[in-house]
């Protein structure tokens, strides 16, 4: 994958591009793209993959003008437009799933294939989604991974998660990234999507890790009830970050949308 920049009306946007075939746009979750790069590589075996960063993520410029859900939705359409892509296979993970759903709902005739992986965007009072904005670094792996212990090692890349240097880098990145994500996810990751799901015309696949503890599978069923004809694929032994933990299974599911 190659890291590039595309200019939009408001801000230059960083994106990864690679592979060949049908265009696929991958929208990352609140944690950013770092952990999905391996998965993108495998997607690029079959698709022409574009994975834009939400402004503020990675080394990309922040954009104060993106304040609410409509801003995020239209901004991401602007990116697709500037990349010159028509009707991409739209794939979103977690927060990215929320944005992808909104894109498909506001422009139902421009999206024919949609894959939502552990998507945010709905809220069920009986199943409150844990507050990622009040979690300390060492608490995250338990919510994100099927295997929390292995996850902790991956997230800290072998360093001690209470080491001040690690913490400082972590907090600065968090302030930029989750500061941007908070515009649509804080304090409740819901901005009225449920009332717009009926507009989605795309053939939709819902992909969920069986042991997702952040947005549990009961949310997959809620999406299924909201989107006509949506199919659900459960991934065994995967948590919230299913594309990281089970890349070939997730990849196999997406390929069915071809």
């Amino acid at each position: 994958m190659e890291l590039k920049t595309v200019q939009t009306e408001r801000v230059p946007v960083r994106y990864y591009e690679g592979g060949a075939g049908r265009p696929l746009v991958f929208l990352h979750g609140a944690g950013g793209l770092d952990m999905d790069l391996g998965f993108l590589d495998s997607l690029a075996q079959k698709f022409h993959v574009y994975a834009p960063l939400v402004p503020g993520y990675g080394d990309s410029e922040e954009c104060i003008e993106l304040r609410d859900m409509l801003d995020f939705t239209l901004h991401t359409w602007d990116v697709v437009d500037r990349l010159g892509i028509k009707d991409p296979l739209l794939v979103g993970l977690s927060m990215g799933g929320m944005i992808a759903s909104e894109m498909a709902a506001v422009a139902p005739n421009d999206v024919t294939r949609l894959a939502l992986i552990a998507s945010a965007g709905l809220w069920l009072d009986e199943h409150p989604i844990p507050d990622i904005f009040a979690m300390l670094p060492y608490e995250l792996p338990g919510y994100l991974f099927h295997d929390a212990e292995a996850g902790a090692k991956i997230m800290s890349a072998g360093t001690d998660m209470s080491d001040p240097k690690f913490l400082q880098a972590f907090l600065v990145r968090n302030a930029r990234q989750l500061g941007a994500a908070g515009k649509i996810l804080f304090p409740i990751p819901e901005r009225g999507l449920a009332s717009r799901l009926y507009r989605i015309k795309a053939k939709t696949l819902l992909i969920w890790g069986e042991s997702d503890k952040l947005i549990p599978p009961v949310y997959a069923q809620a999406f299924q009830r909201g989107i006509r004809g949506a199919e659900l694929v459960m991934i065994p032994q995967a948590g919230h970050v299913a594309p990281f933990e089970k890349p070939s299974e997730v990849m196999g599911a997406i390929a069915r949308l071809q």
Binding site: I64, R67, F133, A134, M135, L136, P137, Y138, E139, M161, S162, P164, L167, Q168, L171, V172, N174, A175, R176, Q177, L178, G179, A180, A181, G182, K183, F186, P187, I188
Partner: protein
């Protein structure tokens, strides 16, 4: 010098094992720990203490705003201030402050502050905090990355509302109002003096300098740790070519306890100080700083050890708290000496005296407060004589004020139409 006796209003009935057994003193504190019948006693006792301090020669009595917090029982500082307005007569009411971005619409603050200023006869000192992340983001749901923009807009609305001489339309991003026209209006013109509590960001330094507001550093860390931040402020005042460096451009909160001797101070107050520092400040670190609330610069200079897992609870002992300046405690002589050091080193004209500490009972609090008023304040009063006439950052009460409870004798009805 201006001294304000401040009451955070801590809940005094937290259990001994609070730190070990409970997640946080703030935001998601166990609701079962609050007993409203005890609350009745607590509020009334705390109001009595504020009124008492108002009779001893303090320049102001102070209240602030916190939510879902067991060390601060004032979700509405204006309710407390309103009650004090009627029961005190010549002391400033320092509301430090109302979190303007949390009121919907923020015009409510312009209205309530104007009411307080009218009821008290111009005794209001107004505070406009952004609010802590715990209050603003976690308790009141403001989006962290938008909080400062929302705050600036609320500030603009309030200032314009107080200044306007006819109704106007306000088309903000967060507040849209067709007819802005607050009734009543404040006595103090163009507006009551404004203090801004801050945590060290350059943006807030500049905001105070540009608007002639007093910058208040309200921490519990004490004056020794507070020096670096205040130095940063004064450097900025010089850099921005402010017209003067009056010490009244700054304020500082300090925990203070006074007894007849140093040993007596420890004997009387150590357990209450320990209650405050070891129970009341037990805030879950995940609530300290919502991502996006603080600027990157501020994070880069912050202390981060609090983000590591807490495996054991270390009690902060009296000696350490006194030595590191978190608490200024001892005989009137000791306290005077350390207060002089504080005032000179930080260059602050406004002192917010935290004297009701943790679960301190009223009689001890009165003792400490009276000793401070009688034996310490007079020795500090005339520091910065060259700025003695600087009234820009303090209230200007009416010379002739109404007396509460001074109704005339009821007259007999006269004539059929009555």
């Amino acid at each position: 010098m201006r001294f304000t006796w401040f009451n955070l209003m801590p809940w005094p009935h937290l259990p001994d094992d609070f730190r070990e057994k409970h997640h946080s003193v703030w935001v998601d504190i166990d609701p079962n720990l609050f007993d409203p019948v005890k609350g009745h006693q607590v509020y009334n006792s705390y109001l009595d203490l504020l009124e008492y301090a108002g009779t001893l020669g303090f320049d102001g009595i102070g209240v602030n705003e916190h939510h879902q917090n067991a060390y601060g029982l004032m979700p509405s500082p204006n309710i407390i201030a309103a009650s004090l307005a009627r029961r005190t007569d010549d002391v400033a009411l320092v509301v430090l402050g109302a979190s303007i971005a949390l009121y919907n619409p923020p015009l409510r603050v312009a209205e309530e502050f104007a009411m307080l200023d009218c009821i008290s006869g111009g005794r209001l000192v107004a505070g406009f905090p952004v609010g802590t992340s715990m209050d603003t983001n976690y308790c009141y749901g403001a989006i962290p990355g938008l909080t400062r923009e929302k705050y600036r807009e609320a500030h603009e609305l309030i200032k314009r509302a107080w200044a306007a001489r006819e109704p106007f339309a306000f088309n903000g991003r967060y507040t849209k109002l067709r007819y802005v026209n607050p009734w009543p209006r404040p006595i103090q013109q163009p507006h009551p003096p404004i203090h801004i509590p801050g945590g060290g960001s350059i943006e807030t330094f500049d905001f105070c300098i540009d608007n002639t507001y007093s910058y208040s550093y309200l921490s519990f860390g004490g004056y020794i740790r507070g020096q670096a931040l205040m130095r940063g402020y004064w450097d900025r005042v010089a850099e921005r070519n402010a017209p003067d460096d009056s010490p009244y451009r700054a304020g500082f909160a300090q925990t203070i306890c006074v007894a007849d001797t140093d040993a007596e101070a420890e004997r009387l107050y150590a357990k209450h100080v320990s209650y405050f520092y070891n129970r009341c400040l037990h805030v879950y670190p995940g609530f300290a700083d919502a991502p996006g609330y603080r600027t990157i610069k501020t994070i880069q200079k912050g202390i981060l050890s609090q983000y590591a897992p807490q495996t054991m609870f270390q009690e902060l002992p009296w000696k350490e708290l006194v030595d590191n300046g978190s608490v200024i405690a001892g005989s009137p002589e000791t306290v005077t000496h350390r207060m002089q050091e504080l005032i000179q080193k930080l260059r602050v004209g406004n002192i917010f005296c935290l004297m009701q500490i943790g679960d301190m009972p009223a009689d001890k609090c009165m003792h400490s407060t009276r000793l401070f008023a009688e034996k310490v304040i007079p020795k500090l009063r005339n520091m910065f004589p060259e700025y003695a006439s600087d009234g820009r950052f303090w209230c200007k009460p009416l010379a002739q004020r109404a007396t509460p409870g001074a109704l005339p004798v009821e007259s007999e009805p006269v004539g059929a139409e009555r």
